[in-house]
């Protein structure tokens, strides 16, 4: 499987956020997006997820399921945690498992339980999500990645609010995902605990330096 973007341009609110961005990621590889605030890291992730249409250029996925859109094969973990405070931890996760899977086989709910275990929230399974701390909310969002298996992970600052132990656990999960043949694109400011991953550095926003900055490619395992 290969995910690539060709000559992508993003315009938000009449402002050119980035242009001429190229990238390519293969199965088993990670691409890390870096750059200053406003460089368009989140916009690029949302574009890959299908939430923003590229103003120019195109995205291509080779080797994926031809019947499904890119967004349907990807997990998007954004800045916000899509959790309902009135529902318990389990209810929140199993809702997303059922909604994203489209089926409710017992095996899938087993996966949801394993997801909770993997992020260390199994003890809080019956607590309403409204009582969770910021880090616990983030971990519950990340549990979605395991509850529903999908080949592409799009992570926007996944380590926000996570403590050191949880960050290590997240690196391990990301590593396992890559070893299993998945691919991931992550935006980050801090160091990412992954060895050998490609880096795509997005430039300063328009008006800053590098007009028509040279396309930067980052690849592979």
């Amino acid at each position: 499987m290969n995910l690539s973007g060709l000559d992508l341009t993003c315009i938000r609110g009449g402002r050119r956020v980035f242009s001429g961005v190229n990238f390519s990621v293969d199965s088993g590889a990670a691409l890390v997006l870096t750059g200053p605030n406003g460089a368009g890291k989140s916009s690029l992730l949302r574009m890959i997820a299908g939430l923003i249409r590229p103003a120019e250029g195109r995205l291509a996925l080779k080797g994926g399921d031809a019947e499904m859109s890119l967004g349907e094969q990807a997990h998007y973990v954004g800045h916000l945690d899509p959790l309902k405070p009135a529902l318990t931890v389990t209810e929140n996760l199993s809702f997303w498992a059922r909604f994203l899977n489209g089926k409710a086989a017992p095996a899938d709910l087993g996966l949801a339980e394993r997801g909770l275990d993997a992020v260390g929230l199994a003890d809080l399974a019956d607590l309403p999500a409204g009582y969770l701390s910021a880090g616990q909310r983030r971990r519950l969002s990340l549990a979605r990645l395991l509850a529903v298996p999908r080949p592409i992970w799009l992570l926007d600052e996944p380590t926000t609010a996570l403590d050191a132990a949880s960050q290590d656990r997240l690196w391990a999960l990301m590593h396992d995902h890559l070893v299993a043949g998945g691919l991931l694109v992550a935006a980050t400011h801090g160091p990412l605990g992954l060895t050998d991953c490609g880096e795509l550095r997005l430039g300063a926003p328009a008006g800053g330096a590098e007009p028509g900055s040279p396309p930067i490619a980052a690849v592979g395992p």
Binding site: L51, M68, G71, G78, A86, F95, W96, F99, L100, G102
Partner: protein, 222 residues
């Protein structure tokens, strides 16, 4: 189907658990209906004559009350992004959400209407007719309101925008709802005529509402 059932179950559960949807609507309904006798005075004959109209107005306002949070909460916590990305068509997800909203907000209003009708000196026949027309008409109010809720979320405006947008669109439902009720009680026209039009309005809104709301969300949130 499972995905839509999951959306329906989640929304219904949240509405019942917080008590925001079901109970607040009924209490608001009660408040509106209670105010009327204070405003028009204790004229029993007058109250009986305008009673169905007051019940309909109260139900209309109450059913729009909780509607502006329908997509706003999903937008604020990022759920809407995942819903937009997912495989089930947005129109169907909206229909599932609207159905859950109607069951938790509209149905309690219908159940409360005969009790509140007693406050307005309505005869048993009028109580039944009002409940029946509300049962048929309130889905239309919800499904028209969904359009306003989607627009308010897409424009990132809450509060009064929704009623201002939606109330004019609900005028036909109000006209034929009250007309059918009055026809059942005093005549002279047959009950079926306005009631059938009310049914038609509801069926139309069941189709148009989700499509219009989905279009508003798609283009508004990009």
């Amino acid at each position: 189907m499972t995905a839509l059932a999951a959306v329906f179950a989640r929304d219904a559960r949240i509405a019942i658990r917080i008590g925001g949807g079901a109970m607040m609507g009924v209490l608001f309904f009660l408040a509106v209906v209670t105010l009327v006798p204070f405003a028009v005075g204790p004229d029993l004959a007058l109250l009986r004559r305008i009673g169905p109209a007051i019940l309909w107005l109260g139900a209309l306002l109450a059913s729009l009350l909780a509607l502006d949070r329908l997509f706003a909460t999903d937008h604020e916590d990022g759920s809407l992004d995942l819903i937009l990305m997912a495989r089930p068509a947005l129109e169907l997800v909206i229909a599932a959400k609207a159905l859950a909203h109607w069951l938790t907000t509209g149905v309690p209003l219908i159940i409360a209407s005969p009790i509140l009708g007693l406050f307005l000196n309505l005869e048993p026949q009028a109580l039944v007719a009002t409940a029946l027309t509300l049962l048929v008409g309130t889905p239309a109010l919800t499904f028209i309101g969904v359009i306003g809720a989607a627009l308010a979320t897409a424009l990132r405006r809450g509060g009064l925008l929704l009623p201002v947008l939606v109330l004019p669109l609900t005028i036909p439902v109000l006209i034929f709802g009250v007309a059918a009720t009055n026809a059942a009680v005093v005549g002279p026209m047959p009950f079926e005529t306005p009631f059938t039009i009310l049914c038609a309005l509801t069926l139309m809104s069941l189709v148009i509402g989700p499509f219009a709301a989905a279009a508003a969300l798609r283009y508004g949130l990009e």
